[in-house]
Protein backbone atom coordinates (compact mmCIF):
# COMPACT_ATOMS: atom_id res chain seq x y z
CA UNK A 1 0.00 0.00 0.00
CA UNK A 2 1.00 3.56 -0.35
CA UNK A 3 2.43 4.32 3.01
CA UNK A 4 5.62 6.27 3.03
CA UNK A 5 8.50 5.69 5.36
CA UNK A 6 10.29 2.61 6.46
CA UNK A 7 8.28 1.44 9.40
CA UNK A 8 5.76 -1.19 8.68
CA UNK A 9 2.47 -1.36 10.43
CA UNK A 10 -0.52 -3.53 10.33
CA UNK A 11 -1.87 -2.98 6.87
CA UNK A 12 -4.83 -0.71 6.83
CA UNK A 13 -6.83 1.19 4.32
CA UNK A 14 -5.03 4.21 2.99
CA UNK A 15 -7.02 7.42 2.95
CA UNK A 16 -8.01 7.95 -0.67
CA UNK A 17 -6.82 11.57 -0.77
CA UNK A 18 -3.29 10.39 -0.22
CA UNK A 19 -3.53 7.88 -3.02
CA UNK A 20 -4.71 10.53 -5.44
CA UNK A 21 -1.75 12.72 -4.63
CA UNK A 22 0.75 9.97 -5.29
CA UNK A 23 -1.12 8.74 -8.33
CA UNK A 24 -1.47 12.12 -9.97
CA UNK A 25 0.85 14.54 -8.19
CA UNK A 26 4.14 12.77 -8.74
CA UNK A 27 3.64 12.01 -12.42
CA UNK A 28 2.59 15.64 -12.93
CA UNK A 29 5.75 16.77 -11.22
CA UNK A 30 7.75 14.41 -13.41
CA UNK A 31 6.11 15.87 -16.48
CA UNK A 32 6.85 19.38 -15.29
CA UNK A 33 10.50 18.47 -14.76
CA UNK A 34 10.73 16.96 -18.24
CA UNK A 35 9.07 19.87 -20.02
CA UNK A 36 11.12 22.27 -17.91
CA UNK A 37 14.32 20.55 -18.98
CA UNK A 38 13.23 20.61 -22.58
CA UNK A 39 12.40 24.29 -22.35
CA UNK A 40 15.69 24.99 -20.65
CA UNK A 41 17.93 23.48 -23.31
CA UNK A 42 15.94 24.82 -26.24
CA UNK A 43 14.63 28.20 -25.14
CA UNK A 44 16.23 29.50 -21.99
CA UNK A 45 19.82 28.59 -22.82
CA UNK A 46 19.43 27.55 -26.45
CA UNK A 47 21.98 24.76 -26.50
CA UNK A 48 20.16 22.90 -29.20
CA UNK A 49 19.13 24.23 -32.55
CA UNK A 50 15.36 24.27 -33.09
CA UNK A 51 15.76 22.31 -36.33
CA UNK A 52 16.99 19.42 -34.21
CA UNK A 53 14.78 19.82 -31.19
CA UNK A 54 12.24 22.61 -31.37
CA UNK A 55 11.30 24.38 -28.13
CA UNK A 56 8.08 23.24 -26.43
CA UNK A 57 6.31 26.46 -27.34
CA UNK A 58 6.84 25.88 -31.05
CA UNK A 59 5.71 22.29 -30.75
CA UNK A 60 2.58 23.44 -28.98
CA UNK A 61 1.88 25.96 -31.71
CA UNK A 62 2.40 23.34 -34.37
CA UNK A 63 0.05 21.05 -32.51
CA UNK A 64 -2.61 23.75 -32.27
CA UNK A 65 -2.35 24.51 -35.97
CA UNK A 66 -2.56 20.94 -37.13
CA UNK A 67 -4.46 19.46 -34.25
CA UNK A 68 -7.20 17.84 -36.33
CA UNK A 69 -4.71 16.13 -38.58
CA UNK A 70 -2.43 15.07 -35.75
CA UNK A 71 -5.31 13.73 -33.69
CA UNK A 72 -6.47 11.77 -36.71
CA UNK A 73 -2.98 10.32 -36.93
CA UNK A 74 -3.08 9.57 -33.23
CA UNK A 75 -6.32 7.64 -33.64
CA UNK A 76 -4.89 5.58 -36.49
CA UNK A 77 -1.67 4.81 -34.66
CA UNK A 78 -3.40 4.03 -31.38
CA UNK A 79 -5.66 1.58 -33.12
CA UNK A 80 -2.73 -0.12 -34.82
CA UNK A 81 -0.73 -0.22 -31.62
CA UNK A 82 -3.53 -1.69 -29.57
CA UNK A 83 -4.56 -4.21 -32.21
CA UNK A 84 -0.98 -5.28 -32.87
CA UNK A 85 -0.27 -5.44 -29.16
CA UNK A 86 -3.26 -7.69 -28.54
CA UNK A 87 -2.10 -9.89 -31.38
CA UNK A 88 1.34 -10.02 -29.77
CA UNK A 89 -0.11 -10.89 -26.41
CA UNK A 90 -2.13 -13.78 -27.76
CA UNK A 91 0.60 -15.11 -30.02
CA UNK A 92 3.39 -14.34 -27.57
CA UNK A 93 1.72 -16.16 -24.72
CA UNK A 94 0.98 -19.12 -26.99
CA UNK A 95 4.56 -19.29 -28.22
CA UNK A 96 5.79 -18.85 -24.67
CA UNK A 97 3.54 -21.68 -23.65
CA UNK A 98 4.91 -23.90 -26.39
CA UNK A 99 8.49 -23.17 -25.40
CA UNK A 100 7.64 -23.75 -21.77
CA UNK A 101 5.94 -27.04 -22.54
CA UNK A 102 8.80 -28.65 -24.37
CA UNK A 103 12.48 -28.35 -23.79
CA UNK A 104 13.11 -29.50 -27.35
CA UNK A 105 10.94 -26.69 -28.71
CA UNK A 106 12.69 -24.20 -26.49
CA UNK A 107 16.14 -25.30 -27.57
CA UNK A 108 15.10 -25.38 -31.18
CA UNK A 109 13.24 -22.15 -31.50
CA UNK A 110 14.49 -19.72 -28.94
CA UNK A 111 17.68 -18.94 -30.90
CA UNK A 112 15.49 -18.32 -33.95
CA UNK A 113 13.25 -15.98 -32.00
CA UNK A 114 16.30 -14.09 -30.77
CA UNK A 115 17.57 -13.91 -34.33
CA UNK A 116 14.27 -12.59 -35.67
CA UNK A 117 14.15 -10.13 -32.87
CA UNK A 118 17.63 -8.85 -33.61
CA UNK A 119 17.01 -8.13 -37.29
CA UNK A 120 16.68 -4.39 -37.71
CA UNK A 121 13.04 -4.05 -38.61
CA UNK A 122 13.72 -1.28 -41.10
CA UNK A 123 15.42 -3.85 -43.31
CA UNK A 124 12.24 -5.91 -43.38
CA UNK A 125 10.16 -3.17 -44.99
CA UNK A 126 10.29 -4.40 -48.59
CA UNK A 127 9.76 -8.00 -47.52
CA UNK A 128 6.64 -7.08 -45.61
CA UNK A 129 5.23 -4.87 -48.30
CA UNK A 130 5.86 -7.42 -50.99
CA UNK A 131 4.25 -10.24 -49.07
CA UNK A 132 1.50 -8.32 -47.31
CA UNK A 133 0.92 -5.20 -49.36
CA UNK A 134 0.33 -1.81 -47.83
CA UNK A 135 -1.79 -0.76 -44.88
CA UNK A 136 -2.96 -2.63 -41.81
CA UNK A 137 -1.45 -6.04 -42.43
CA UNK A 138 2.23 -5.14 -42.71
CA UNK A 139 1.85 -2.56 -39.95
CA UNK A 140 0.29 -5.04 -37.53
CA UNK A 141 2.99 -7.51 -38.48
CA UNK A 142 5.60 -4.92 -37.68
CA UNK A 143 4.00 -4.24 -34.30
CA UNK A 144 3.99 -7.94 -33.66
CA UNK A 145 7.62 -8.38 -34.72
CA UNK A 146 8.74 -5.65 -32.38
CA UNK A 147 6.74 -6.61 -29.35
CA UNK A 148 6.38 -10.38 -29.29
CA UNK A 149 9.77 -11.27 -27.90
CA UNK A 150 9.48 -9.82 -24.39
CA UNK A 151 6.10 -11.48 -24.06
CA UNK A 152 7.38 -14.85 -25.19
CA UNK A 153 10.41 -14.68 -22.97
CA UNK A 154 8.58 -13.56 -19.87
CA UNK A 155 5.84 -16.13 -20.41
CA UNK A 156 8.35 -18.93 -20.82
CA UNK A 157 10.34 -17.80 -17.83
CA UNK A 158 7.23 -17.41 -15.71
CA UNK A 159 5.83 -20.77 -16.69
CA UNK A 160 9.09 -22.61 -16.13
CA UNK A 161 9.77 -21.14 -12.71
CA UNK A 162 6.66 -22.20 -10.88
CA UNK A 163 7.53 -22.65 -7.20
CA UNK A 164 8.36 -26.32 -6.80
CA UNK A 165 5.83 -26.81 -4.03
CA UNK A 166 2.93 -25.62 -6.18
CA UNK A 167 4.01 -27.74 -9.11
CA UNK A 168 4.23 -30.73 -6.78
CA UNK A 169 0.72 -30.01 -5.57
CA UNK A 170 -0.60 -30.08 -9.11
CA UNK A 171 1.28 -33.27 -9.81
CA UNK A 172 -0.01 -34.90 -6.65
CA UNK A 173 -3.55 -34.25 -7.88
CA UNK A 174 -2.62 -35.86 -11.18
CA UNK A 175 -3.72 -32.67 -12.91
CA UNK A 176 -3.51 -32.72 -16.67
CA UNK A 177 -1.00 -30.50 -18.39
CA UNK A 178 -3.73 -28.10 -19.32
CA UNK A 179 -5.14 -27.99 -15.80
CA UNK A 180 -1.72 -27.47 -14.31
CA UNK A 181 -1.19 -24.68 -16.75
CA UNK A 182 -4.54 -23.03 -16.18
CA UNK A 183 -4.84 -23.34 -12.44
CA UNK A 184 -1.27 -23.25 -11.25
CA UNK A 185 1.44 -22.32 -13.69
CA UNK A 186 -0.28 -19.48 -15.50
CA UNK A 187 -1.47 -17.62 -12.40
CA UNK A 188 1.94 -18.12 -10.84
CA UNK A 189 3.55 -16.79 -14.02
CA UNK A 190 1.38 -13.69 -14.29
CA UNK A 191 3.70 -11.37 -12.38
CA UNK A 192 6.44 -12.32 -14.81
CA UNK A 193 4.18 -12.04 -17.82
CA UNK A 194 3.13 -8.55 -16.87
CA UNK A 195 6.74 -7.41 -16.92
CA UNK A 196 6.90 -8.70 -20.48
CA UNK A 197 3.69 -6.92 -21.39
CA UNK A 198 4.93 -3.69 -19.93
CA UNK A 199 8.16 -3.91 -21.87
CA UNK A 200 6.27 -4.84 -25.01
CA UNK A 201 3.81 -1.95 -24.88
CA UNK A 202 6.16 0.90 -25.84
CA UNK A 203 7.78 -1.40 -28.38
CA UNK A 204 4.38 -1.94 -29.95
CA UNK A 205 4.03 1.82 -30.36
CA UNK A 206 7.41 1.96 -32.05
CA UNK A 207 6.40 -0.95 -34.22
CA UNK A 208 3.32 0.92 -35.42
CA UNK A 209 5.45 3.91 -36.30
CA UNK A 210 8.08 1.90 -38.13
CA UNK A 211 5.33 0.04 -39.91
CA UNK A 212 3.85 3.34 -41.03
CA UNK A 213 7.26 4.50 -42.17
CA UNK A 214 7.37 1.56 -44.52
CA UNK A 215 3.88 0.66 -45.48
CA UNK A 216 1.62 3.27 -44.02
CA UNK A 217 -0.53 5.92 -45.58
CA UNK A 218 -1.44 7.74 -42.43
CA UNK A 219 -0.84 7.81 -38.70
CA UNK A 220 1.71 9.51 -36.53
CA UNK A 221 4.66 7.65 -38.01
CA UNK A 222 3.69 8.71 -41.50
CA UNK A 223 3.33 12.27 -40.28
CA UNK A 224 6.73 12.16 -38.66
CA UNK A 225 8.29 11.17 -42.01
CA UNK A 226 6.33 13.72 -43.95
CA UNK A 227 7.03 16.64 -41.67
CA UNK A 228 10.66 15.88 -41.11
CA UNK A 229 10.95 15.51 -44.89
CA UNK A 230 10.08 19.17 -45.24
CA UNK A 231 12.09 19.94 -42.13
CA UNK A 232 9.00 21.03 -40.19
CA UNK A 233 10.51 19.73 -37.00
CA UNK A 234 7.95 21.42 -34.78
CA UNK A 235 5.10 19.40 -36.27
CA UNK A 236 7.22 16.25 -36.37
CA UNK A 237 7.94 16.67 -32.68
CA UNK A 238 4.29 17.34 -32.00
CA UNK A 239 3.61 13.92 -33.51
CA UNK A 240 6.43 12.37 -31.49
CA UNK A 241 5.07 13.92 -28.32
CA UNK A 242 1.61 12.59 -29.05
CA UNK A 243 3.09 9.18 -29.64
CA UNK A 244 4.92 9.26 -26.33
CA UNK A 245 1.75 10.39 -24.57
CA UNK A 246 -0.21 7.57 -26.13
CA UNK A 247 2.38 5.07 -24.94
CA UNK A 248 2.32 6.40 -21.43
CA UNK A 249 -1.47 6.18 -21.37
CA UNK A 250 -1.50 2.62 -22.68
CA UNK A 251 1.25 1.65 -20.30
CA UNK A 252 -0.63 3.11 -17.36
CA UNK A 253 -3.75 1.17 -18.23
CA UNK A 254 -1.64 -1.95 -18.30
CA UNK A 255 -0.31 -1.16 -14.84
CA UNK A 256 -3.87 -0.66 -13.67
CA UNK A 257 -4.96 -3.98 -15.12
CA UNK A 258 -2.05 -5.64 -13.39
CA UNK A 259 -2.92 -4.11 -10.08
CA UNK A 260 -6.53 -5.22 -10.35
CA UNK A 261 -5.69 -8.68 -11.60
CA UNK A 262 -2.94 -9.54 -9.17
CA UNK A 263 -3.77 -8.13 -5.76
CA UNK A 264 -2.10 -11.06 -4.06
CA UNK A 265 1.31 -10.17 -5.43
CA UNK A 266 1.49 -6.91 -3.56
CA UNK A 267 0.43 -8.65 -0.37
CA UNK A 268 2.84 -11.54 -0.40
CA UNK A 269 5.85 -9.52 -1.43
CA UNK A 270 7.55 -6.57 0.09
CA UNK A 271 7.79 -3.43 -1.94
CA UNK A 272 10.33 -1.33 -0.21
Amino acid sequence: MAEAGDTPHARRFVPSGRTTVTAVGWPALGLAVAVGGWWLITSAIPLIHPAVLPPPAEVLTAFREKSAELLGGLATTTLETVAGFLLSVVAGVLIGLLLAASRAAERMFSPLLVAINAVPKIALGPLLVVSLGWGQRPILTMVFLLSFFPIVLSTTTGLTTTPAELADLARSLDASRWQTFRKVRLPAALPHIFVGLKVAMPLAAIGAVIGEFQAGEGGLGYQIVQYSGIADSATAWAAITLLATMSVALYSSLVLVERLALPWVRETTSER
Binding site: G125, G229, A231
Partner: protein, 319 residues
Protein backbone atom coordinates in the same frame (compact mmCIF):
# COMPACT_ATOMS: atom_id res chain seq x y z
CA UNK B 1 -12.31 11.33 -56.99
CA UNK B 2 -12.97 14.70 -58.58
CA UNK B 3 -12.59 13.57 -62.19
CA UNK B 4 -14.91 15.54 -64.36
CA UNK B 5 -17.95 13.64 -65.62
CA UNK B 6 -17.00 14.00 -69.26
CA UNK B 7 -13.76 12.08 -68.81
CA UNK B 8 -15.46 9.44 -66.73
CA UNK B 9 -18.03 8.80 -69.38
CA UNK B 10 -15.48 8.45 -72.18
CA UNK B 11 -13.66 5.67 -70.41
CA UNK B 12 -16.57 4.00 -68.68
CA UNK B 13 -17.06 1.59 -71.55
CA UNK B 14 -14.13 -0.53 -70.41
CA UNK B 15 -13.24 -1.38 -66.80
CA UNK B 16 -10.17 0.43 -65.57
CA UNK B 17 -6.93 -1.49 -65.35
CA UNK B 18 -5.23 -1.40 -61.97
CA UNK B 19 -1.69 -0.10 -61.67
CA UNK B 20 0.37 0.37 -58.52
CA UNK B 21 2.86 3.18 -58.57
CA UNK B 22 5.50 4.01 -55.99
CA UNK B 23 6.76 7.55 -55.48
CA UNK B 24 10.51 7.93 -55.22
CA UNK B 25 10.38 8.81 -51.55
CA UNK B 26 7.40 9.76 -49.41
CA UNK B 27 4.98 12.36 -50.72
CA UNK B 28 6.81 15.59 -51.37
CA UNK B 29 6.59 18.25 -54.09
CA UNK B 30 9.13 16.49 -56.26
CA UNK B 31 6.86 13.45 -56.47
CA UNK B 32 3.57 15.32 -56.69
CA UNK B 33 3.22 14.89 -60.47
CA UNK B 34 1.80 11.40 -60.01
CA UNK B 35 -0.92 12.80 -57.80
CA UNK B 36 -1.57 15.48 -60.40
CA UNK B 37 -1.97 12.85 -63.11
CA UNK B 38 -4.36 10.93 -60.91
CA UNK B 39 -6.27 13.92 -59.64
CA UNK B 40 -6.65 15.49 -63.06
CA UNK B 41 -7.95 12.24 -64.42
CA UNK B 42 -5.06 11.69 -66.82
CA UNK B 43 -4.75 8.07 -65.78
CA UNK B 44 -8.47 7.52 -66.00
CA UNK B 45 -8.48 8.97 -69.49
CA UNK B 46 -6.21 6.17 -70.61
CA UNK B 47 -8.18 3.52 -68.79
CA UNK B 48 -5.98 3.16 -65.74
CA UNK B 49 -6.79 3.15 -62.07
CA UNK B 50 -3.50 4.01 -60.39
CA UNK B 51 -2.79 3.38 -56.77
CA UNK B 52 -0.03 5.68 -55.54
CA UNK B 53 2.05 4.45 -52.63
CA UNK B 54 4.86 6.27 -50.87
CA UNK B 55 8.26 4.89 -51.83
CA UNK B 56 11.30 4.58 -49.60
CA UNK B 57 14.24 5.45 -51.81
CA UNK B 58 16.04 3.90 -54.75
CA UNK B 59 17.22 0.63 -53.20
CA UNK B 60 13.91 -0.26 -51.54
CA UNK B 61 11.93 0.81 -54.57
CA UNK B 62 13.97 -1.36 -56.93
CA UNK B 63 13.37 -4.34 -54.64
CA UNK B 64 9.66 -3.69 -54.50
CA UNK B 65 9.34 -3.34 -58.28
CA UNK B 66 11.38 -6.46 -58.92
CA UNK B 67 9.26 -8.40 -56.46
CA UNK B 68 6.08 -7.13 -58.06
CA UNK B 69 4.71 -5.11 -55.18
CA UNK B 70 4.34 -2.19 -57.58
CA UNK B 71 4.63 -1.77 -61.34
CA UNK B 72 6.27 1.61 -61.86
CA UNK B 73 8.48 3.85 -59.82
CA UNK B 74 10.97 6.63 -60.35
CA UNK B 75 14.48 5.81 -59.11
CA UNK B 76 17.73 7.61 -59.40
CA UNK B 77 19.55 6.46 -62.52
CA UNK B 78 22.94 6.54 -60.82
CA UNK B 79 21.62 4.33 -58.04
CA UNK B 80 20.14 2.01 -60.61
CA UNK B 81 23.42 1.82 -62.51
CA UNK B 82 25.34 1.06 -59.34
CA UNK B 83 22.84 -1.63 -58.44
CA UNK B 84 23.11 -3.10 -61.88
CA UNK B 85 26.88 -2.97 -61.68
CA UNK B 86 26.66 -4.98 -58.48
CA UNK B 87 24.62 -7.67 -60.15
CA UNK B 88 21.27 -6.49 -58.84
CA UNK B 89 18.20 -4.95 -60.43
CA UNK B 90 18.49 -7.36 -63.32
CA UNK B 91 14.83 -7.30 -64.25
CA UNK B 92 14.57 -3.51 -64.12
CA UNK B 93 14.19 -1.48 -67.27
CA UNK B 94 14.08 2.28 -67.75
CA UNK B 95 11.03 3.56 -69.61
CA UNK B 96 11.22 7.33 -69.21
CA UNK B 97 13.42 10.08 -67.86
CA UNK B 98 11.85 12.27 -65.23
CA UNK B 99 14.72 14.63 -64.62
CA UNK B 100 16.98 15.14 -67.57
CA UNK B 101 19.88 16.08 -65.34
CA UNK B 102 20.76 14.75 -61.96
CA UNK B 103 19.35 16.86 -59.16
CA UNK B 104 22.09 15.63 -56.85
CA UNK B 105 23.81 18.54 -55.19
CA UNK B 106 25.73 19.66 -52.22
CA UNK B 107 23.89 22.27 -50.21
CA UNK B 108 25.53 24.57 -47.76
CA UNK B 109 24.58 27.79 -46.07
CA UNK B 110 25.94 31.23 -46.56
CA UNK B 111 28.50 31.93 -43.91
CA UNK B 112 29.86 28.42 -43.94
CA UNK B 113 32.62 29.55 -46.25
CA UNK B 114 31.52 27.56 -49.25
CA UNK B 115 30.89 29.34 -52.50
CA UNK B 116 32.65 27.19 -55.08
CA UNK B 117 33.53 23.51 -55.19
CA UNK B 118 37.11 24.37 -54.28
CA UNK B 119 35.90 25.64 -50.89
CA UNK B 120 34.77 22.15 -49.98
CA UNK B 121 38.31 21.09 -49.19
CA UNK B 122 38.86 20.86 -45.47
CA UNK B 123 35.12 20.84 -44.75
CA UNK B 124 32.87 18.20 -43.26
CA UNK B 125 29.85 17.05 -45.23
CA UNK B 126 27.05 14.70 -44.26
CA UNK B 127 24.95 12.22 -46.17
CA UNK B 128 23.84 8.65 -45.75
CA UNK B 129 26.11 5.90 -46.99
CA UNK B 130 24.90 4.53 -50.31
CA UNK B 131 23.30 7.81 -51.37
CA UNK B 132 23.83 9.09 -54.90
CA UNK B 133 25.55 12.24 -53.76
CA UNK B 134 28.08 10.30 -51.76
CA UNK B 135 28.62 7.63 -54.34
CA UNK B 136 29.28 10.19 -57.03
CA UNK B 137 31.36 12.54 -54.96
CA UNK B 138 34.77 11.25 -56.02
CA UNK B 139 33.76 11.68 -59.68
CA UNK B 140 32.35 15.11 -58.97
CA UNK B 141 35.52 16.10 -57.17
CA UNK B 142 37.68 14.95 -60.05
CA UNK B 143 35.61 16.81 -62.63
CA UNK B 144 35.37 19.92 -60.49
CA UNK B 145 39.10 19.83 -59.91
CA UNK B 146 39.18 19.37 -56.16
CA UNK B 147 40.91 16.85 -53.95
CA UNK B 148 38.27 14.45 -52.69
CA UNK B 149 40.54 13.19 -49.93
CA UNK B 150 40.52 16.60 -48.29
CA UNK B 151 36.77 16.44 -47.72
CA UNK B 152 35.43 14.62 -44.69
CA UNK B 153 32.18 12.73 -45.03
CA UNK B 154 30.09 11.78 -42.06
CA UNK B 155 27.01 9.68 -41.83
CA UNK B 156 23.53 11.03 -41.50
CA UNK B 157 20.14 9.54 -42.10
CA UNK B 158 18.28 11.35 -44.92
CA UNK B 159 15.63 12.75 -42.60
CA UNK B 160 18.26 14.23 -40.31
CA UNK B 161 20.46 16.03 -42.81
CA UNK B 162 18.79 19.43 -42.90
CA UNK B 163 18.81 19.58 -39.14
CA UNK B 164 22.51 18.82 -39.11
CA UNK B 165 23.19 21.59 -41.57
CA UNK B 166 20.95 24.14 -39.92
CA UNK B 167 22.39 23.50 -36.50
CA UNK B 168 25.89 24.08 -37.85
CA UNK B 169 27.10 20.56 -37.12
CA UNK B 170 28.31 20.12 -40.69
CA UNK B 171 29.29 22.57 -43.40
CA UNK B 172 27.28 20.95 -46.13
CA UNK B 173 24.99 18.06 -46.90
CA UNK B 174 24.03 15.92 -49.83
CA UNK B 175 20.61 16.91 -51.12
CA UNK B 176 18.59 17.19 -54.23
CA UNK B 177 18.55 20.64 -55.73
CA UNK B 178 14.88 20.92 -54.92
CA UNK B 179 15.71 20.75 -51.23
CA UNK B 180 16.90 24.35 -51.35
CA UNK B 181 13.69 26.06 -50.16
CA UNK B 182 13.32 23.60 -47.31
CA UNK B 183 16.88 24.24 -46.20
CA UNK B 184 16.31 27.96 -46.31
CA UNK B 185 13.08 27.76 -44.39
CA UNK B 186 14.82 25.86 -41.62
CA UNK B 187 17.94 28.03 -41.67
CA UNK B 188 15.78 31.02 -40.80
CA UNK B 189 17.12 33.82 -42.96
CA UNK B 190 20.42 32.34 -44.09
CA UNK B 191 20.60 31.66 -47.77
CA UNK B 192 21.42 28.27 -49.16
CA UNK B 193 24.47 27.71 -51.33
CA UNK B 194 23.76 24.99 -53.89
CA UNK B 195 26.47 23.15 -55.80
CA UNK B 196 24.57 20.99 -58.31
CA UNK B 197 26.41 17.97 -59.65
CA UNK B 198 24.83 18.69 -63.02
CA UNK B 199 27.26 21.60 -63.36
CA UNK B 200 30.04 19.16 -64.11
CA UNK B 201 28.14 15.98 -64.96
CA UNK B 202 25.75 17.13 -67.58
CA UNK B 203 25.09 13.70 -69.04
CA UNK B 204 23.81 12.12 -65.89
CA UNK B 205 20.08 11.75 -65.55
CA UNK B 206 18.22 12.30 -62.33
CA UNK B 207 15.20 10.15 -61.56
CA UNK B 208 14.07 7.82 -64.31
CA UNK B 209 10.86 5.87 -64.45
CA UNK B 210 11.41 2.14 -64.26
CA UNK B 211 9.38 -1.01 -64.51
CA UNK B 212 10.22 -4.67 -64.94
CA UNK B 213 11.35 -6.18 -68.23
CA UNK B 214 8.35 -8.46 -67.98
CA UNK B 215 5.86 -5.62 -67.98
CA UNK B 216 7.79 -3.83 -70.69
CA UNK B 217 7.67 -6.93 -72.81
CA UNK B 218 4.21 -8.27 -72.06
CA UNK B 219 2.18 -5.13 -71.45
CA UNK B 220 3.78 -2.48 -73.70
CA UNK B 221 0.45 -0.90 -74.37
CA UNK B 222 -0.40 -0.45 -70.76
CA UNK B 223 3.08 0.87 -70.08
CA UNK B 224 2.81 3.35 -72.92
CA UNK B 225 -0.52 4.61 -71.71
CA UNK B 226 0.79 4.89 -68.16
CA UNK B 227 3.94 6.72 -69.23
CA UNK B 228 2.00 9.14 -71.39
CA UNK B 229 -0.43 9.99 -68.62
CA UNK B 230 2.32 10.33 -66.04
CA UNK B 231 4.28 12.64 -68.35
CA UNK B 232 1.16 14.69 -68.84
CA UNK B 233 0.95 15.02 -65.07
CA UNK B 234 4.62 15.91 -64.92
CA UNK B 235 4.21 18.70 -67.41
CA UNK B 236 1.12 19.97 -65.67
CA UNK B 237 2.87 19.97 -62.33
CA UNK B 238 5.88 22.00 -63.40
CA UNK B 239 3.66 24.38 -65.29
CA UNK B 240 1.30 24.86 -62.37
CA UNK B 241 3.33 24.55 -59.19
CA UNK B 242 0.75 26.13 -56.91
CA UNK B 243 -2.09 23.97 -58.13
CA UNK B 244 0.22 20.99 -57.74
CA UNK B 245 0.84 21.91 -54.15
CA UNK B 246 -2.93 22.09 -53.55
CA UNK B 247 -3.52 18.77 -55.24
CA UNK B 248 -0.86 17.12 -53.17
CA UNK B 249 -2.30 18.58 -49.99
CA UNK B 250 -5.77 17.39 -50.98
CA UNK B 251 -4.60 13.82 -51.45
CA UNK B 252 -1.97 13.67 -48.76
CA UNK B 253 -3.13 15.59 -45.71
CA UNK B 254 0.32 15.52 -44.21
CA UNK B 255 1.76 17.48 -47.15
CA UNK B 256 2.26 21.23 -47.06
CA UNK B 257 1.43 23.41 -50.05
CA UNK B 258 4.12 26.08 -50.15
CA UNK B 259 7.26 23.95 -50.02
CA UNK B 260 5.72 21.50 -52.48
CA UNK B 261 5.04 24.29 -54.96
CA UNK B 262 8.55 25.65 -54.52
CA UNK B 263 10.00 22.22 -55.25
CA UNK B 264 7.98 21.96 -58.45
CA UNK B 265 9.21 25.31 -59.60
CA UNK B 266 12.80 24.33 -59.02
CA UNK B 267 12.34 20.96 -60.64
CA UNK B 268 11.05 22.52 -63.81
CA UNK B 269 14.52 23.28 -65.11
CA UNK B 270 15.54 19.65 -64.68
CA UNK B 271 12.46 18.16 -66.26
CA UNK B 272 12.48 20.43 -69.26
CA UNK B 273 15.96 21.91 -69.61
CA UNK B 274 16.54 24.65 -72.13
CA UNK B 275 16.62 23.38 -75.67
CA UNK B 276 15.14 19.99 -74.90
CA UNK B 277 12.01 20.63 -76.89
CA UNK B 278 8.46 20.17 -75.81
CA UNK B 279 8.44 16.50 -75.00
CA UNK B 280 9.35 15.46 -71.48
CA UNK B 281 10.52 12.05 -70.43
CA UNK B 282 12.95 11.34 -73.21
CA UNK B 283 16.03 9.20 -72.73
CA UNK B 284 19.09 9.66 -74.84
CA UNK B 285 20.95 6.34 -74.92
CA UNK B 286 24.20 8.07 -75.83
CA UNK B 287 24.02 10.08 -72.65
CA UNK B 288 23.25 6.91 -70.75
CA UNK B 289 26.33 5.31 -72.28
CA UNK B 290 28.46 8.25 -71.21
CA UNK B 291 27.01 8.03 -67.70
CA UNK B 292 27.97 4.38 -67.56
CA UNK B 293 31.46 5.28 -68.70
CA UNK B 294 31.68 7.93 -66.05
CA UNK B 295 30.89 5.46 -63.32
CA UNK B 296 33.20 2.86 -64.78
CA UNK B 297 36.01 5.37 -64.85
CA UNK B 298 35.34 6.12 -61.22
CA UNK B 299 35.60 2.37 -60.49
CA UNK B 300 32.07 2.44 -59.18
CA UNK B 301 30.90 -0.34 -61.48
CA UNK B 302 32.41 -3.01 -63.69
CA UNK B 303 32.56 -2.78 -67.46
CA UNK B 304 30.06 -4.49 -69.72
CA UNK B 305 26.74 -2.79 -69.25
CA UNK B 306 25.29 -1.19 -72.35
CA UNK B 307 22.38 1.27 -72.54
CA UNK B 308 20.16 -1.05 -74.52
CA UNK B 309 20.33 -3.59 -71.70
CA UNK B 310 18.89 -0.99 -69.43
CA UNK B 311 16.60 1.21 -71.49
CA UNK B 312 13.49 0.07 -73.26
CA UNK B 313 13.77 2.17 -76.40
CA UNK B 314 10.28 1.12 -77.51
CA UNK B 315 8.61 2.71 -74.57
CA UNK B 316 10.52 5.89 -73.88
CA UNK B 317 8.78 9.05 -75.03
CA UNK B 318 10.28 10.28 -78.26
CA UNK B 319 11.02 13.89 -79.06
Amino acid sequence: NPDNPQQTSTSSSKPLEKVTYLTSFGNFGRDAYAWVAKDKGFFREVGLDVDIKPGSGTGDNISKIEAGAAMFTPVDLTGLLLARGNGGAESIVVVAGIQQHTMAALISLQGNGIATPKDLEGKTLADSPGSVVRNLFPTYAKLAGIDATKVTWVNGAPANLIGLLASGTVAGIGQFVVGEPTVESVAKGRQAVVLPYSDVMNDLYGNVLVTTTKIAREQPDLAKRFIAALMKGLVHSIDNPDETGQILKKNVPAAVVAPAAAECTLMSAFVRPEGSGNVVGTIDTKRVARSIELLQDADAMPAGLTPDQLVSADLTPKP
